[in-house]
Amino acid sequence: MNFLSRFKPSSREGSLGLILIVTIAITGIINPRFLTGDGTRDLFTSTAVVALLAIGMAPIIIMRHIDLSVASTVGLTAWFIADLCAKHPEFTWVQCFIIGPIIGMVVGVINGLLVAGLRLPSLVVTLGTLYIVRGAVYVISNSVDYNAQEMPPSLLDLGQKVYFGIMPFTFLLVIFAMLITAWFMKYRKAGRDCYAIGSNPHAADLVGIKVFRRTFLAFVFSGAMSGLAGVFYLMRFAQVDSTAFYGQELAVVAAAVIGGVTIAGGSGTTVGATIGALLVQTIQGGLAAIGVDAFWKSAINGLLLIVAIYADRTLARKSENALLAQRIKERA
């Protein structure tokens, strides 16, 4: 019983994993080619960008905030790096991996200062930076776009690199980021603080949790992940213009929420966010493999989101009731 109750908090991730496997299996039965080495590799490759962003977004949502500027930041970073690489042919993947997160962090610092420092609502602030950053890309890019020719071969080769036939380098980094953040959020005080802030910001402040610092750093972290995601974007598509990754921020929020990161704050994990991203992409890829056209896919995505939130609510209510029952029992 003790073992079971210890297992329980992560059962949300367990059941999500199960749903993921069932979804993959169903698609595989309808179209066996979906499960070939190429199919699995494609699933991981195409999930990497959104998964990375969902991992960056999870701590923010856990703290009852949101970061809508991530997709614009991906676009900014991707275009900026491609531009630098075109002007400096000596650049390799190393410079890209350093510069990307730095550009992202600049946006993160701005978001963090506005949200944590001026105590403005993050929904409005990041909606603003969404437009500002995208506008900046339009202005800076001046309609110039870049293609594989202008990008460092070492970066593109790394984007093609696959381990064990199915595990791309980019997704390996995603797993790494997921494990580190999951450990941090679960076992470090700073990580636990995030849950406290999300459960009750006022109380968290009163008990002396550094709300400003935690919130600020969460936005900087999300910015850094968006910057890295911009590099991933180049590695995957090898083409970029000022509209790169336009409008994809809600896909990231969807992945996190479907992965059990509650929009009301206070619960969720980066493992869940990653599985959520995988689930969304499996369904996207699965629908394409079955031959459903792109318009229906976005509608089905929306439906999935609503189902996920419904499941989230029901589960939350159930566990609330269970907790209440337990407390009553303990008092008796």
């Binding site: 080619r33 594989a148 984007g159 890829g285 792109a294 318009f295």
Partner: protein
């Protein structure tokens, strides 16, 4: 003796002075105004403009605006007219907004030829259109049939189901396939919404759902790159070939990396060349550009021998010619 010489010299001078205006306000001074200076496509057209200028011994300047707006182009137009340019070659950012400035220029005797994107009839003498939809459809069909080896299944990756241009090109491609390559069958059409993300996912889906396809035709510059990038890094490399509408520089990597991709587009360099030569014909050879007239091509024209002036969507126009297919054998000759 000296006096005689002087008299002859003076006479000659007077003669030249008299002859000059009639044989030519001929000294052409050409301003090339693209949509935006920094775009590779227009820089390639400028190479052709320069080539024509050299042949005509004309003065040429590239007046690329720094932003892609009609206002920026109006500024360039006015500056060029004041600077004494007598020919304007323009790819317009707006159909109507440039017309007043261009009308004023024409009143001052400036010859205006539009290419790539037109303005209303009143603003220019003639429009040089890139290629007919039929020409593009034919190039797509020829390339796809070649990549499929003359027979087999192919698929189409388009932008959206209601994209007018793409649908017209696909229709002409299908016509050509039916007439010339009856054994090549289009078995599926997917839509990538002109975004790399969706285009890649749809390419994966096409290949997974239709294992028999040998070629994917993407009549969109975003879709073709996404499809080629995906195929080049997948197990389908060497089995499924990508072709469509694309810039040779965008596609060079995949045309040459062994995935055997191709791309089609009009020859942009020749585009600039033809626009200048036609302006020259109008100005110096009194070439008519009324619908039905035939314009003989200049020596260095890489396209067709002559062009007929036809009625286009806006007014009189001529077509550049058939589209060019870029393959690993010729792609290095193009830089745009």
């Amino acid at each position: 003796m000296k006096k005689v010489l002087a008299a002859i010299a003076t006479g000659a001078l007077i003669a030249t002075a008299f002859v000059a205006p009639s044989s030519a306000a001929t000294k052409l001074k050409i301003a090339h105004i693209p949509k935006l200076g920094t775009i590779g496509y227009f820089q390639a057209a400028e190479v052709g403009v320069q080539r024509a200028c050299k042949e005509l011994k004309a003065t040429c300047a590239y007046k690329g605006p720094t932003e892609i707006t009609a206002a920026a182009q109006v500024k360039e137009i006015n500056a060029a007219v004041q600077g004494g340019y007598n020919v304007l070659i323009i790819a317009a950012n707006d159909k109507d907004a440039l017309v007043p400035a261009l009308k004023a220029a024409q009143k001052k005797g400036v010859t205006v030829v539009t290419y790539d994107s037109d303005v209303a009839q009143a603003g220019r003498s003639v429009f040089v259109n890139q290629a007919s939809s039929e020409g593009i459809g034919n190039a797509l069909a020829d390339s796809a049939a070649e990549l499929a080896g003359g027979e087999g299944d192919i698929a189409v990756l388009s932008t959206t189901p209601d994209a007018t241009n793409q649908n017209v090109w696909i229709e002409f491609m299908n016509k050509r396939l039916a007439a010339k390559y009856p054994k090549v069958k289009v078995v599926a059409t997917a839509y990538g919404l002109d975004k790399p993300e969706e285009s890649t996912t749809e390419t994966q889906g096409l290949i997974q759902k239709n294992p028999t396809i040998e070629a994917i035709v993407a009549p969109t510059s975003v879709g073709i790159v996404a499809a080629a990038k995906y195929v080049s890094g997948s197990a389908s490399k060497g089995k499924v070939f990508v072709t469509g509408l694309g810039l040779p520089n965008d596609m060079k990597t995949y045309i040459k990396d062994g995935s055997g991709a191709q791309a089609s587009l009009w020859d942009v360099e020749n585009f600039g060349y033809v626009a200048v030569q036609i302006a020259n014909s109008i100005r110096n050879n009194k070439q008519s550009v009324k619908v039905g007239a035939v314009i003989k091509s200049a020596k260095g024209d890489k396209g067709v021998k002559s062009r007929k002036v036809i009625k286009g969507a806006v007014g009189n126009e001529v077509l550049l010619g058939p589209a060019t297919v870029f393959t690993k054998d010729n792609v290095d000759n193009y830089n745009f």
